[in-house]
Structures are given as C-alpha cells and as structure tokens.
Symmetry: C2
Subunit: 533 residues, 2 copies
Amino acid sequence: MLRRDRLFLAATLTAVFSADLYFILLPKLRSLGRPHSCSCGPGNLSLPRQGGLATPLLSNWTSVPLPDSATPEPADGGSKLEKLFAHTLYNIQTPSLGPEERLLQAEQLIEYYRRKVSRWERHMKLYSEAAAVANISVTEHEVTYDPDASWMKFHLGINRYALYSRDDPAVLQLLKDMQNMAVVSADYTQDEKALKGACDCTQVVKPSGHHLKLALKMKNFAKAMFKPMRQQRDEETPEDSFYFVDFQRHNAEIAAFHLDRILDFQRVPPVAGRLVNVTGEVLQVTHNEDLRAVFFTSPANNTCFFAKCLYVCKTEYAVCGRPDLLEGSLSAYLPGLSIAPRISIPNPWTRSYTFTGREEWEVNPFYCDTVKQLYPYNSGNRLLNIIDMSIFDFLTGNMDRHHYEIFTKFGDEGFLLHLDNARGFGKHSQDETSILAPLSQCCMIKRSTLLRLQLLARSEFRLSDVMRESLEGDPLRPVLTEPHLLALDRRLQKVLRVVQRCVRRLGEEEVITKDFIKATGKPQTATVGKRVR
Amino acid sequence: MLRRDRLFLAATLTAVFSADLYFILLPKLRSLGRPHSCSCGPGNLSLPRQGGLATPLLSNWTSVPLPDSATPEPADGGSKLEKLFAHTLYNIQTPSLGPEERLLQAEQLIEYYRRKVSRWERHMKLYSEAAAVANISVTEHEVTYDPDASWMKFHLGINRYALYSRDDPAVLQLLKDMQNMAVVSADYTQDEKALKGACDCTQVVKPSGHHLKLALKMKNFAKAMFKPMRQQRDEETPEDSFYFVDFQRHNAEIAAFHLDRILDFQRVPPVAGRLVNVTGEVLQVTHNEDLRAVFFTSPANNTCFFAKCLYVCKTEYAVCGRPDLLEGSLSAYLPGLSIAPRISIPNPWTRSYTFTGREEWEVNPFYCDTVKQLYPYNSGNRLLNIIDMSIFDFLTGNMDRHHYEIFTKFGDEGFLLHLDNARGFGKHSQDETSILAPLSQCCMIKRSTLLRLQLLARSEFRLSDVMRESLEGDPLRPVLTEPHLLALDRRLQKVLRVVQRCVRRLGEEEVITKDFIKATGKPQTATVGKRVR
C-alpha cells in the first residue's frame, strides 16, 4: 500500500510539474517578446506574485493565452469542452486502486444483483396473481439480467477518490440507459414512504409538498430517482421565498451533474433528462396502490399526479403531463445502503430552517476557527472538501445544503457526495454570497480546485461555454436558460475574488493548500495532507 | 300591503311599457324608412319575430341605434355608464317599503351598534392592561360612535328586493370609507377560526391554503373582509387547475361587485380595493396572538403572513407586502347573523368537488325537469334567481358556486346573495359554458334580466366599456386586464345565443318570463309570478 502511495505521489508531482511548465513557464517565455497584455477587468485575478515551480503565477492565468490556441475564441468553433478535458489539469492520472479503495467488489455486487432479480421474479409472480384477482391491469415488461449493465459498472467504479472517472464509457452508457431504457416499475422513494402520509402542523418547513419524486426501475435493474418538472425554466424563484420551500428543479439536478463533472469533482451521481410518459412509465407499471391512487385527469385532460402526505390533500402540488409526457430528471441511484452504507453529517455551515433563526456562522466571522478545532475538521481534507462543496453550491445558487454524505467505507478521508442539487438555479439575477461562507471565513482552498476554476475563467474554456456545450448532450436541452449560464461566469469571478482577498490578507502559502496528494493514514488517525512543493 | 303591491305593479307596467315604446316601436318606425341594416355577425340576436307590445323584437336590439344617439359610439366621449344608469330600464321605481320588507329596523341596529361599542371599550381596557404586562405593543386607534355611519345606512337599506339601491349615497360613502378609513383591528374571519388549525388529510380539496382572508374593523365599526392579492392580474389560472383549488382573486371580488351593479342585481355587498399596510393595519392592530404569530419577514425584507391550519406549515402560501403595502379587496360585511340570520342552500347545479365525480346535471340533460318539481324551485322566482346567478357566474367565469345564501327574514321569495366571487376572472381565454347549465337546461330567463343583457350587448352600452368605466373608480385600477373585459362581451353574446336557441325551440312565451312584478304570498305558499302582458 505504501508502495502505491509513493507511485501516486510521483505521478502527481510529474503532472503538477507539467502543468506548471505548460501554463507558467511557456507563457512567460512567450510574453517576453511582446507588451504586457493583461487587462485589468474584474475577470483578472491578480494575486501577489510569488515565484516557485509549484506556485503558479496566478495573475497570468486569466490573461495569457494557451500556447496551442493563439486566439481566445477558437476560430474553428471547435469544442471547448473537449479542449478542457484534454487539458493537462484534467488528465492527472488516478493511481491504480487496491480492493480497499474501491467501494464494492465485483463478486459482491453480482451476488446482490442476482438476489434482486430473483426477488423481483418472485414478487412479479405473486403480484400478477393478485392483480388478476383484483382486476388491476399492470403492464409487464421483460427484465434482463445483464452483468455488463452500465449501472453495475458505475457502481463498481466508485472509489475513494470519486464516483466515476470522467471518460468512463460506462457512465456515458448509463446516461443513455436512463434516457431511453424501458421502465419496468415505479414507486415512491424511501424518503416519501418514511413520511407515511403523516401531517404534522408543528413542522414549519418540512415536509414540503414540493418533494415530489419517484424511484423508477429500468429493465436491466438500473434504478433512478425521477424528479418531475415543476416550473418553467425561465421562472425565477420569487424573492420572498425561503430557500427551504423553494421548488425542486429537475433542470438544476441535470445541470449540477454537468457542472460537477466540468469542475472535475465527480461527486454527483450521473443525471439525465427524460421525457417520461407518466401513464405508461409510471401509472401502468407501479405496484404501489398508494401511488396509483394519486393519479388523476386534470380539467384540461392531462394526466397528473401528486405526492403523498399533505400533498394528498393538495392538487396545487400536482404535476401534469401534456397529456402524458412530462419532463424530469433521472438521477442514478448509488449502491444500496445494505452493501455500501453512507453516513449523513450536518453541514457546519447549515442554515437556520426557521423564519427568524440565525446560525452561529452567520453572526460570528471567526466561526471557522471554531470549526477547525473540531473533529473531523481538525485534520485531513474534510474542511477543504466542505469548501469545494460551498463553491459548487455557490455556482449553482443552492442554499439548501443542510447535510452531506460520505461512504462509511472510506472513513473520514472519503470524498463528500454532492447529492440533491435540485434547489440550485432558482435565481440567475442574484448571487447568494453567504453560500461561500466556508471559503471566505476559512480562507482555504485546494490548489487543484483553484487551478481548475482559473482555467474556467479563461475565455478559451469559459465556464458558461463549456456548460452550454455539455448540456447540449442532454435530451431536455436547453437545460439552462442563457441568464443562468452567464450567472455561472459572474459567480466564478466572485469566487476568485474571494480567494484573491484571502491571499492578499494571509498570503498564498496560507490560503492555497497543495493537494494532488493522497492523504495517508487510517480514518481514526487522519492527518492534514502534507504540503508538497 | 296589497295596496302597495298594486302600486308597484302599476309602476312596473308603466316602466315596461316605456321600455317597449322606446326600444321596440320607435326603432321599428325608424327602420321603416331605410334598408334593413341588420348585420348578421355573431353579435346579433335573431330570435323569431313575434309581435306584441311587451314582447320585444329581439332581432332589432343589437342592430338598431337608440333614437337619442345616432352613432353607436358617442362622439362626445361621454360616460356610457351614466347613460346606462339613466336608461329607463335602470330607473324602474322600487315600491316604498314596509317594515316587513326591510331587513332591519333602525332602533334594532342602533342598539346593536351601541352594544358593540361598549363591548369594544371593555375589551380594549382589559387588553391594554394585559398587553402592558406581556410587553406587547398594540397601536390603539380612537374609535367613533357614528349613528350616521355609511355601513349603518347600508345595513338599514337592505330590503327584500336588493342589498342596496344603486344610487344610494350611503353605498358610495361606504366604498370610500373602506378605501380610506383607519383600521382599528384585524382578525381571522369566523371561517378561519372554525378550522382551529386542524389538518385533515382525508380532505381532498378543502381547506385550501389559498383561503387567506382577514376581517378588518374600521374606526367607525364598519367591518370588511380583506382578501389579499395572490397573483398578478395577467396570470391566468393554469389549465390543469381544478376550480376548487384555484386562487381567490382580490380583483375578481372587486369586479364582481361592479358587474352585479351594472346588471342591476344589487346582490353583491359593496367591495372596494385598498392598498393595505400589513404592518400598520394588520399586525400592529390585531389582538389575536395566532394572527400575530404568522407574520414574518421574507428574505427580500418584505412583511409577509400566511393563513392558519395547513398553511401554518406552508410559507408557499404566504402573501407579502412591498415592503408593507399589499393590494386587497375589502368587502363590506352584511349585518351579523344574530340580527339578520341567513341560510345557506346547496346550489342544485353544484359541481362535484372530487377529481372524477360527476353531478347529475352534468350527465342528465333533463335535470331541470326534476329540479322544477322540487321545493323551493317548484314555485316563485327561485329558479329564475338561480338562472340569474348562473348568468352572473358565467360572465365572471366562476365555477365555484356550491351554495347560495338568502336572508331568512324574506323567506323563499328573498333574493339570492351573490357572495364570494373571488374565483371568477381566472381565465379570459376560456368560456366555461357549463356554468350556464341552469339557463340552457331550464330554458327560462327573467324578462328584466334579458332586457338588460340585450342593452349591454349594444355598442352604446357595451358591457366591457361600462365595466371599464365603473372599475376606473376603484383605487386599484385597472382592476381587470383588457382581455378579461373583452371576454365579458364575448360571454354576453353566448348568453344571448343560449336564450335565442331556447326561444327557437320553445317559443318566447315559454322562455322569457315576465317579471317586473312582486311575487305575492307568504314563503310557504309562494306561487309562480303571474305573467303580465
């Protein structure tokens, strides 16, 4: 294991060195022969210059064109996304993984899958008999057992560094499967079932009638969470809405997956858009009588359904097809909790879910100092991961990150899952800088994250352009409206300015944490990742 | 009493004769000397011609200009509304009223008012002491005892024929008072209190979170029901919404009052628009802790509040000022039930308040024959009054008339109150002809109603024009958008076409019921009003 660590370290150092050579030294040489072309607009980061191989001169990052693209906008209209993903920074090799660094073992998952199939077959036999007696007609789809199914490969690919590798063909196939594959059953999610239709008037904010989501099972047993479209893409969240009662947006869920991939985090499970036939792909394939009971035909003759609990009383909360087709997001399920347990941990920067309450971080500017003392934020990368997450959430505008999840198997050094992103992209005209509190209060950021953000601030890789291009691949394109895409660029600049202010105050050394290393040690004895020059 | 009846009969006959002379004979004489100018557009009613003094030749009604206005559009741009109200049809004298025909006696109401004032004073004394102890600051407004208050006069003017007479200065003053007078207290309405915050999941449709209304008391003890603005005037009800979960619209409440007045029904209590300061005129003057508790400040720093029950859990249902000012409708309260009891009777043409249910009238085209056999629809004017109400509701597009109310004092011959009109004016682009079922299935209409509808179909008095002009007097102008105003004209034509089809099928004699008479007899022995030629 130690040997592998050393190999990884060497590979990483090589990559970092190449990146420095590529971006720092070469541009420097190029710029020697011509006048300084730095424009001083807000888009330019001008951190104090500090020399050194592994410390990029950040002021150059947004002003110097890449050697291989002399014009900021490629004249050939080539793919910015492809260029981005071909960039050195996006091609740092992952070390080969030992069994302990993979979430699941193949045998284990195949066994799990087999059990699922036989349980399904038993269930279908009983159900068909009961349905015949009760005179319920259910469309029966053939299911297939396919050990090469894309969802299996996705689950097997999850490791201690990320949910998937960006160019994994299995992930692309999984997206396609979620877009097209026949749905064999539909049901409420476990969350919804847990509510059991209970009304609780003392609950000020939850459950909200807006939590309308279903679990869909595909013919090869892939499972996806379906979040239906609740509002038009150009409808902004009303200014008086609290974030915790905001709609869940299917397009935010899709866009968040693409953004996470573009940031090279790979912490959001694959999400695809799909035009779901709510009659054929939900009503006629569900075996849940409760779910069947919430379907109705609207006065306009559209097929509609609403969620459980309070919502049973509320047609205002219903969603309707046109007449049966309804846009929605399909998020790939993670492996079941029985084989891949996760824990849910309160976000130290959680918000007060009341009308008037304020959390400590909102009133105490030195809150981070307290957090830094506390386990598990006092060692390892956890706090840096929280900061990554806050940047991600700030870019999407998601204020609803009350918890985060990690796989227990990877312990405290595991990456944070960025699940449930549907409350992003509600307002394009407003940047909620409070979401950045972890970054602005702690004044720390991973070097790898900062480098990628800086890359995405450059016109050659402009975040809005690569997002637009990436989202073009989704069947529900355009997933985001132009104002939302452009807001990403504006917010990215704001993130960089926060880093810039931190560096001015504390120095680069303090602020920009050298990562690209694998933290060592067991969860119980996690230590802060060593800085590498 | 009989004597007064006879006098009234004579007055009415004179009026009808004048109307006939004015509209039928004179235009006929005029049209003799020129080619037939009838255009055959959908706007023209062409009932089969039948001669006779009291049987207007309806085909002429919309094609022949009035003798006193040679051009359809007055060249002087004069007030169409004034001309309408100056019309003979709108100036049929009400008989002088005996005590039994008035809802209230002055002494009784004054006594009631005095008791209210002294109860208020006692309450305020106790409340101020308690508030001082609890450290609650409540704005105390001076109240005045004014036996000449406009609301007193309005209450005293209610009689067996109508809620008010159109040119009663007290009603105009009451509208002004509701628009401007200081609010001294605010509370939930009795309806809301009856819910007592109960959640009932078995209730599919009610209570809806959209029932957000408050009772406001003015400094002279006038009481008004405040319905706040829930949506913009140009937002149409979504096509998938059921009528029973539709928003209550403050502007519909205002517009319905004006329409009812223009139809000369006077069955809707006065309604005025007002920009209410929800902080100063609700929060700071309420003595109800529950109401105070539902106020909050939104993320956009606006003052918001929401309703009781389910809604306590639901900020989605909240309404917000900007930052404190909020548009709303103020509907004058009727006299308290203790002094003027009313009964609420199910509308025979009520709808099924479920997703799939259908009422008999929706499937049985001969439903009216059944209704006609049943008390109280088998005698008197009750069925004609229901038909009036259906025309009124069709014009506004209100599908939510499940009950109607009458004052018990006037028994079965009392007029129907058209209360609660906030579910009208939801869709301008759609005419819900099912609302007209009472008219189209029974094929009956009061002659007085038909004559006024025909008048309003003429360009000189075009309904949309007089409504626009009438609504101009409200502080929240424009109360209705142009598409909603124009929909009134289109719907009016549809009403007239339904009548026309009935007349073609059954003959004018059967369809157009001669009224303008006072039905005689006691409630128990009510008979169908005699037809008068």
